[in-house]
Symmetry: C2
Subunit: 150 residues, 2 copies
DNA sequence: TCAATTGGTTTAATAATGAAACCATAATTC
DNA sequence: GAATTATGGTTTCATTATTAAACCAATTGA
């Protein structure tokens, strides 16, 4: 395989996002981080990912500013991995995936984990809305492309 | 590589969703489908994906009910690929990725494509909200896990 | 102090991907 | 309507990515 084409310079923001977190593991790591995991072994155990790959993915996520690492104890070499502000901005992505999964990938009676508002215990929702506040679907939108320079 | 662990039986809806569309290409194909592309060659040209991989991805997306194929012309063998209802439910995922990309992966002056409401030309937004309608961030939520059977 | 756990790195085998060649069918041109 | 070109793939092969397992140094626990 020749190195995969980078989407780093694509004009489409979704494509650039996928360039950063579009691989098999990154969003699962981010999900676990939202879930409060911080240590190498916690991610490894939770995901069943090979350790060398986890190492490499953590490095990438740190390099792209989504995670940050800090010594787990004073002067120690072991690290804790936490979401940065940028990383926390992936919250809607995870919630969107969750909502799709809930709707289409579980049998009617099959139990799944739920995302609740801490204060009320009520489920949270996510919708694409117009400026007016009205929900909009894909058919009510258009993409405005960036004009190609000559 | 031993076959990668399937997340098909995971209790987390996000994980199941990633099991279906979490590879390098699927969401890019879906994005292009939202953008109106329907033909093999259009996807191939737009993405620069190898043809055999595109073939395989289209098959997977059809198998999982996200795309459907129909003959492009009466009785012909060439296919058109379109999003199903299930596929259109990935809209918020794409928009969430876009919003993250817009916010973090472009320089201040760098142009990017925009997603606009067709009727008004205004940008669309997406937010995670509580039942009350109030926006909620990751710190205001909890995951309710599925109890493990004995 | 000794044993076990944590947090990795290295190595070797296997799977996934990409590029290119190839081919049948469909659409276009002459 | 014959020849040409474009489309929609499939096959093959070389390369890269991922995995599991072995290994190891530094912490932590007993």
């Amino acid at each position: 395989m020749v190195a995969r084409k980078s989407l780093e310079q694509d004009h489409c923001p979704s494509a650039r996002a996928l360039d950063v977190i579009g691989d098999w593991w990154s969003l699962l790591i981010v999900r676990d981080a939202f879930d409060g995991l911080t240590r190498f072994s916690e991610f490894q155990k939770s995901l069943g990912i090979a350790k060398n790959i986890l190492t490499e993915r953590l490095r990438r996520l740190i390099a792209s500013g989504i995670l940050e690492s800090a010594p787990a104890s004073e002067g120690g070499t072991r690290m804790q991995y936490r979401l940065t502000g940028k990383g926390k901005d992936l919250f809607p992505v995870i919630v969107a995936l969750r909502q799709f999964g809930e709707r289409h990938l579980f049998l009617p009676e099959e139990p799944h984990s739920r995302l609740l508002e801490r204060a009320t215990g009520q489920p949270v929702r996510l919708e694409v809305r117009a400026q007016s506040g009205e929900p909009v679907g894909p058919d009510e939108t258009v993409i405005l492309k960036v004009p190609e320079p000559e």
